[in-house]
């Protein structure tokens, strides 16, 4: 053995008590104790420039939509009739719309909804997709039924389905959660349950491949039960595709929400979201082109920053890339 000479040759019959209990205390201090893995992840994440810029912008966007209204206190629904269709000015830094409502204030309130919808819908579809993918890949008996269900959802025509769901449930949800809350829940659920299928398929494929790897067999020989096998061995190894779906999912959710609002199925027309602002502004593209630019820029930059965060996170979570 190459490096056993410099080490005390401890007997190791008993599991709990260290036989040479007194001696190695000093040595233990000299070695690095097992460190929380998340510190390594953070170290690697910090070294990814794009991810840090993305994280910076995302934090800025969050501050803009949540803290911004405390500083810029104009009510987004207040109509300043004299300022309608005006360009940027001191009173309205981003201009005002055709009714004279302040665009900056509307961007802040709208962003709050858009980001919240994007994040929650993404989380919902991610949890659903990962759950179904892992169960279908890991348990052979569930594979057939779950994947056929996935195919069923993929085959459903999306827009008519959304129409039906919204027609059926809008009023009950409005009654239960209030007008805006009800629509929020409805839109998040609708986007979530119509966008988990790709994640489920990708995850299932990866789980099927992972299940045949020898380290899973090794865990079986240890006696690891299925639940911890999935949590400890399967899930961390399918993190990369899940991360990719997550970042794409946020963008998809924000855009779907805009499309729904545009069709009149989403939030009420006076309730601003980034997508709503964008679609409203398209009518005024000739007169006030900057009104399209603001929400468009906000959506693209948020999506881009989330993509970069996901990219950095994926690299940081893979120990083989970490430290390179």
């Amino acid at each position: 053995m190459t490096d056993s000479a410099d080490r005390p040759n401890q007997p190791m019959q008993t599991a709990g008590a260290t036989p040479a209990g007194a001696a190695p205390v000093m040595e233990l201090e000299a070695y690095r104790p097992p460190r929380n893995q998340w510190w390594d992840v953070w170290d690697q994440f910090k070294s990814h420039k794009g991810a840090m810029v993305g994280l910076g912008f995302f934090v800025f966007a969050l501050l803009f939509v949540y803290v911004g209204p405390l500083i810029w206190t104009i009510d987004p629904t207040y109509i300043d009739i004299r300022a309608r269709n005006s360009g940027p000015s001191m009173a309205h830094p981003m201009g005002a719309d055709q009714l004279g409502r302040d665009t900056l204030a509307r961007m802040m309130t709208g962003g709050r909804t858009s980001i919240a919808v994007g994040l929650t819908a993404m989380l919902l579809s991610l949890v659903l997709g990962t759950l179904i993918g892992v169960l279908a890949g890991y348990f052979k008996k569930l594979d057939g039924p779950l994947m056929r269900t996935t195919d069923l959802f993929l085959a459903l025509p999306l827009l008519p389905l959304l129409l039906v769901i919204i027609m059926l449930f809008r009023d009950q949800l409005r009654a239960a959660f209030g007008p805006e809350g009800g629509i929020f829940v409805l839109i998040v659920v609708v986007i979530g349950i119509t966008s988990w299928m790709q994640t489920a398929r990708v995850v299932r494929g990866d789980v099927l491949a992972l299940k045949e790897r020898e380290f899973v067999l090794a865990a079986r020989s240890i006696g690891t039960p299925s639940s911890r096998m999935i949590l400890r061995h399967i899930l961390p190894n399918v993190m990369s595709p899940i991360m990719v779906s997550a970042t794409l999912g946020i963008a998809n959710a924000i855009i779907t929400e805009s499309a729904l609002s545009f069709l009149g199925l989403g939030f009420p027309s006076d309730f601003p979201t980034w997508g709503r602002l964008l679609f409203d502004a398209t009518d005024w593209l000739q007169q006030n082109p900057e009104r399209v630019i603001w929400p468009g820029l906000a959506i693209s930059l948020t999506v881009l920053s989330v993509n970069y965060i996901g990219d950095g996170l994926r690299d940081a979570l893979d120990p083989r890339i970490r430290g390179r």
Binding site: M1, M12, P33, A218, G223, P236, P319
Partner: protein, 424 residues
């Protein structure tokens, strides 16, 4: 030399069969079996190393994995330390299947009746209100489950007394098998593939501890360091990931993981095949050293005959799913009885170049037959240099021809006539 007379049998394997089904065609019909392990019997004494050799694809690894119950064996018995790991007797398996079927039927019946009554009541409108409906649905589900397990249990008890099967003949349940896992562990062939790339060394070695020992984090850490010392890994490596180690170090991580729970029996599945020669010696010496200190019992699977000669006390030779010869190491290497063992031993390279030139090699002709379709008679009859007429007709029995020497070959079978008579 290992003292066989005073030793106790730790592992007993009796007529173990592991068939993998072949499904073909559009309907995935079951059209045959790959007979990876086809009737293997051997005992392993406490503290010894049994070498298991054979060419690739002969079922060595499958045999080792089946002994540890990583696969569900098709038939045969495995006992570790007197406790059964597989179905002790085929009748018990039949009893279990029949009682499970009874349970399924009972559950189906109860569910149909219950659901029918419930639907009827709902249609007639005699049940209204969300809570009442929910309660009745829950009641139907509970009754169905009770019928499923209750009927299976009662019918099993009845069948057990009528068929004369005892509890011991049943294979251990998942939970019972899990509790037996600490006594038997495995070292895998490919150290890279057998370690989770997303776990640190401390996490990998600590996994069996957190699964079975119920130690606190502090005790676990101490034990992890102790194990790392035992296999010669620097304590500073605890935070590293498998890809940061060399092949030899990775294999030591695998060995440390196998040792974590103080097992009695370790299956080493070609632990040195993926390592280069200088590291092979290190790992084998480490295994021997640990055996001496901890009194371990090994099933050492390898295709490296010289390494097996070094480490094993007894050697079993496998060919196409069957053990053809099992004997103490020295007699097997000095005087092999089975033609296949002779051919295998003559293929070992000669270190002396002069002797290498003049070596009398028995080179086997042809390929190994498919384990899905083994030849009639002796499995080796298609390639055996000493094949006789009887070999193509009758599968030789696996018998103790000399004390502690088991061979399955007609050449060493004294009662050929009686064998033919019984076969006919």
């Amino acid at each position: 030399m290992f003292d066989f007379d005073s030793a106790r049998k730790l592992v007993e394997v009796d007529d173990l069969k592991m068939y993998f089904p072949i499904h073909t065609g559009l309907l995935r019909r079951h059209t045959g079996n790959v007979k990876a392990v086809d009737g293997v019997s051997f005992d392993i004494f406490e503290g010894e190393t049994l070498g298991l050799v054979g060419e690739s694809g002969c079922g060595k690894s499958t045999c080792g994995r089946t002994v540890l119950r990583l696969y569900e064996p098709t038939s045969g018995q495995i006992r570790l330390d007197g406790r059964g790991l597989a179905w002790g007797n085929p009748v018990a398996r039949r009893v279990r299947n029949r009682s499970d079927r009874v349970g399924n039927w009972a559950a189906g019946l109860v569910f149909t009746i219950g659901a029918g009554l419930l639907v009827g009541a709902l249609v007639r409108g005699s049940v209204t209100g969300g809570w009442a409906i929910a309660g009745l649905v829950a009641l139907v589900i509970a009754l169905t489950l009770a019928a499923l397990y209750g009927a299976a249990y009662v019918s099993r008890r009845m069948l057990m007394s009528s068929e004369g099967v005892s509890d011991k003949d049943f294979a251990p349940s998942e939970g019972a098998l899990r509790r037996l896992r600490p006594t038997m562990q495995m070292v895998f062939q490919d150290p890279q593939a057998s370690l989770n790339p997303r776990m640190t060394l401390a996490g990998i070695i600590g996994e069996p501890l957190s699964e079975h020992s119920g130690m606190s984090a502090k005790e676990r850490e101490a034990r992890i360091y102790e194990l790392m010392d035992a296999v010669g890994l620097n304590r500073d490596f605890a935070n590293r990931y498998p890809h940061e180690f060399s092949g030899g170090q990775r294999q030591r991580i695998g060995i440390a993981r196998a040792l974590a729970l103080n097992p009695k029996f370790i299956v080493c599945d070609e632990p040195i095949a993926a390592l280069d020669v200088s590291i092979q010696a290190q790992v084998v010496n480490l295994l021997e050293d640990l055996q001496e200190r901890l009194g371990l019992t090994y099933l050492f699977i390898s295709h490296d005959l010289s390494m097996v000669r070094h480490i094993a006390d007894r050697v079993a030779v496998m060919y196409l799913g069957k053990v053809v010869e099992l004997a103490p190491r020295d007699v097997l290497y000095d005087e092999p009885l089975h033609p296949y063992t002779r051919a295998l031993l003559s293929a070992v390279p000669e270190p002396d170049p002069a002797a290498h030139e003049t070596a009398q090699r028995e080179v086997l002709q042809g390929d190994v037959p498919s384990p899905a379709n083994p030849p009639k008679g002796c499995n080796f009859c298609t390639r055996c240099p000493q094949v006789m007429d009887i070999c193509r007709r009758i599968d030789p029995e696996y018998l103790e021809v000399q004390p502690r020497r088991f061979v399955a070959c007609h050449l060493h079978y004294e009662h050929q006539e009686t064998a033919e008579a019984t076969a006919a």
